[in-house]
């Protein structure tokens, strides 16, 4: 049975950096935005269009517009991307040990025959603003706005495509304050949890 670590995360809490470190420590594959490229390849859809829809739920008006158009075999890009990514994530789980960041992977794999470790990362607003402004070379004010927007989108996306609540600790096996432990420390604890897992 393959081992899969899913990482849900607040924007700016270091999910990508920490996920990569965990994958390195354990010798696992790592998937984050790369899932978009694979999805574009598999679906024949434009990578730019998919990137725009990544980790976002479609606006309600898209469904209204589709309803009025009378089309029945037509879905918003967001739903198509979710469906294609779900299939890719299930395929990954069948073929290798992996760390997967975001994309509701915890939910998509809920009944898959894998050894699943679901992790959620958070950090204080101050720590996240600092990380985001440094990474993107923007002001702290801009970083704060970006952070709030992205967290709202991620929450909408997660709550829309799953029957769970984003950031509720009962959805995860392990919830960590990445600011407290630092990237290396957080990755070490997640790796320890993967090895300590009983079931």
């Amino acid at each position: 049975m393959n081992k899969i670590i899913t990482i849900g995360r607040q924007f700016g809490s270091g999910g990508r950096d920490i996920g990569k470190l965990v994958a390195e420590k354990l010798g696992f594959a790592f998937y984050d935005r790369d899932l978009i490229s694979i999805a574009a390849e598999k679906s024949g859809m434009s990578k730019a269009v998919l990137t725009e829809a990544d980790e976002k739920a479609a606006s309600p008006w898209v469904y209204a517009a589709i309803g009025q158009s009378g089309q029945t075999n037509f879905l918003p890009t967001n739903d198509t991307l979710f469906a294609v990514q779900s299939q890719i994530i299930l395929d990954i789980a069948k073929t290798e040990n992996a760390v997967i960041v975001g994309r509701c992977a915890d939910y998509i794999l809920r009944e898959a025959p894998v050894e699943l470790l679901n992790v959620y990362l958070y950090a204080s607003d101050a720590a996240r603003v600092k990380r985001v402004s440094e990474r993107l070379g923007i002001t702290e004010q801009q970083a704060l706005q970006k952070m709030k927007r992205h967290d709202k989108q991620r929450k909408l996306y997660y709550d829309f495509y799953t029957d769970r609540k984003w950031a509720a600790h009962v959805n995860y096996h392990l919830t960590l304050d990445s600011e407290k432990f630092g990237d290396e420390g957080t990755a070490a604890i997640i790796a320890a949890a993967m090895n300590a897992k009983r079931t």
Copy 2:
């Protein structure tokens, strides 16, 4: 600077057993209900009375009754116990490395000069019912009722004496599903987190 691990927990999630394992692994002192005996000794109050008040907030009517009595230098046992336990917990933090289960220790030590690791443990209702009914030799139905009552009391107690919300992951550095990892696994992850801590 001494190292203190505080463990908040749902009733039946194994806080006591897991806390003891962590203390053994790290060579730390362990405090749980023992704090009552120390409090009785220090305060000269009856251990039976203190045990009754342990981890419970006083009923609102107690404060109403005190108000009407015109007494101003009189507190419910619960408040006295909280004050005495707070002092004991601060003293422990000054003298040794320790694991402290419950009693709002995370809040009491929030500004103390210690290396603090705040942990919260939870598990599914089914796992907790099983643990409680086995430990106490009661039926699963009785265990479920006891569990619900205790969790309500703990939440009231925590929310009353702190300005935080019980079980909200942002209050803790690490939140763990003890059912997923088992007692040994959970203890190993907490020990790893203590050693991995950056600050």
